[in-house]
């Protein structure tokens, strides 16, 4: 709980949940209005980022965009989506913000929302790419063998991955190869 009392002091509850949270975002024990605003903006950004990741997984699972799903199982994809979408809201709104009211202006909200959701899209690209790189390539063949045909190809948004990602993969494989040689 962030409470701006008579002056500019703030107290924190001892709940483990908030303690972990404030240890992550480093809320000081004595904060001013400007600092509280920055904290709120950071919390808002985190909310949008995490909820967007959940939402995107939900949409990609529903649309069967295989290239951008974190999980092969649709059920797991939906569980992930609901957990992160609902969880981020619960996390954000469980905080009690007392008077004086802290309000992020509409234009600022828009900027934060666009930035966080764009970041979540890139995060989804990179993470799904890394997951696909790590997954054993034989699994697809096994599935294809089990069902007698290949899984239907679905459109992806990142058919041509950025060269940066390819370079990272190349470097990881090269480093792994060097490690194995030694």
């Amino acid at each position: 709980m962030l409470r701006q009392g008579n002056g500019s002091t703030a107290t924190q509850t001892c709940s483990l949940f908030r303690l972990v949270r404030y240890s992550i975002i480093r809320a000081p024990s004595t904060v001013r209005h400007g600092q509280l605003m920055r904290l709120l903006e950071l919390q808002y950004f985190t909310l949008v980022f995490v909820a967007s990741c959940g939402l995107l997984q939900g949409v990609f699972t529903y649309r069967r965009v295989s290239g951008l799903q974190f999980f092969r199982s649709p059920a797991l994809g939906y569980v992930f989506a609901v957990f992160f979408f609902v969880g981020s809201f619960v996390w954000f709104f469980s905080d009690e913000r007392d008077l004086p009211p802290l309000v992020i202006e509409g234009s600022q909200q828009t900027v934060l929302f666009v930035a966080a959701s764009a970041l979540s899209v890139y995060f989804t690209y990179v993470l799904s790419f890394l997951i696909r790189s790590v997954r054993p390539s034989t699994t697809m063949a096994l599935i294809a063998g089990e069902h007698g045909k290949r899984q239907p190809e679905q459109p992806t948004y990142n058919k041509r991955l950025p060269s940066v990602c390819r370079y990272v993969r190349h470097m990881i494989l090269r480093l792994a190869g060097q490690g194995a040689d030694r």
Partner: protein
């Protein structure tokens, strides 16, 4: 008309205190983030919703139109706030009004946040009817909560709702004539891998 608006406001606001659970729900819904965020996430979902490239392109241009419509709404409200005489907030006119929200300082008419919500709901409705219906329900709930909480008259919310919806419809109609503008924007988004 104004008298009717104020009577209606007082009737709705007088309900505070009858059901504490309902008051708590409204006190939560009236905040500046929850319903706004839900609507924004619906727009984000719509951005990636298309099953094929053509539908996706159509929905993405629509989301851009909606965003422009929301900006237009805010612009019109800023201009109205300069040229229209300020309508005081209900808690200023009636000091004994029960409040479930903090005291905003900007003019009461038109309701800015309600206008943005209805603008977003209109955009969603054009793209996806069922999601749009849900979005309109959320916008209506938000508008009602603003009146119930004592920060707006019903007329402010209705004015804002009309302004927001009309702005998005006008933007959509205009960009149908100038379709290359959102088209170029979506292509730019595709170039940076956001679409």
């Amino acid at each position: 008309m104004i008298a009717l608006d104020e009577r209606l406001f007082l009737a709705i606001n007088s309900l505070i205190g009858n059901w504490s659970a309902f008051d708590s729900v409204i006190a939560f819904l009236v905040n500046d983030y929850f319903i706004m965020l839900l609507l924004a996430f619906m727009l984000l979902g719509l951005w990636f919703w298309g099953a094929d490239a053509g539908t996706r392109f159509h929905l993405q241009t629509l989301v851009l139109w909606t965003a422009v419509g929301i900006v237009l709404t805010s612009l019109v409200i800023s201009i109205l706030n300069v040229y229209l005489p300020d309508r005081p907030r209900p808690f200023v006119t009636y000091p004994d009004v029960k409040l479930l929200f903090y005291r905003p300082h900007d003019p009461s008419f038109p309701a800015n946040s309600a206008a943005v919500c209805f603008a977003a709901a209109t955009g969603i409705w054009i793209g996806h009817r069922r999601a749009g219906a849900v979005a309109f329900v959320l916008a209506v709930v938000f508008g009602f909560s603003r009146v119930y909480a004592g920060v707006h008259y019903p007329g402010d919310v209705i004015g804002g709702a009309l302004l927001g919806s009309v702005s998005v419809l006008v933007t959509c109609w205009t960009f149908k004539k100038l379709h290359w503008i959102p088209g170029s924007m979506v292509n730019l988004m595709r170039f940076i891998r956001l679409a």
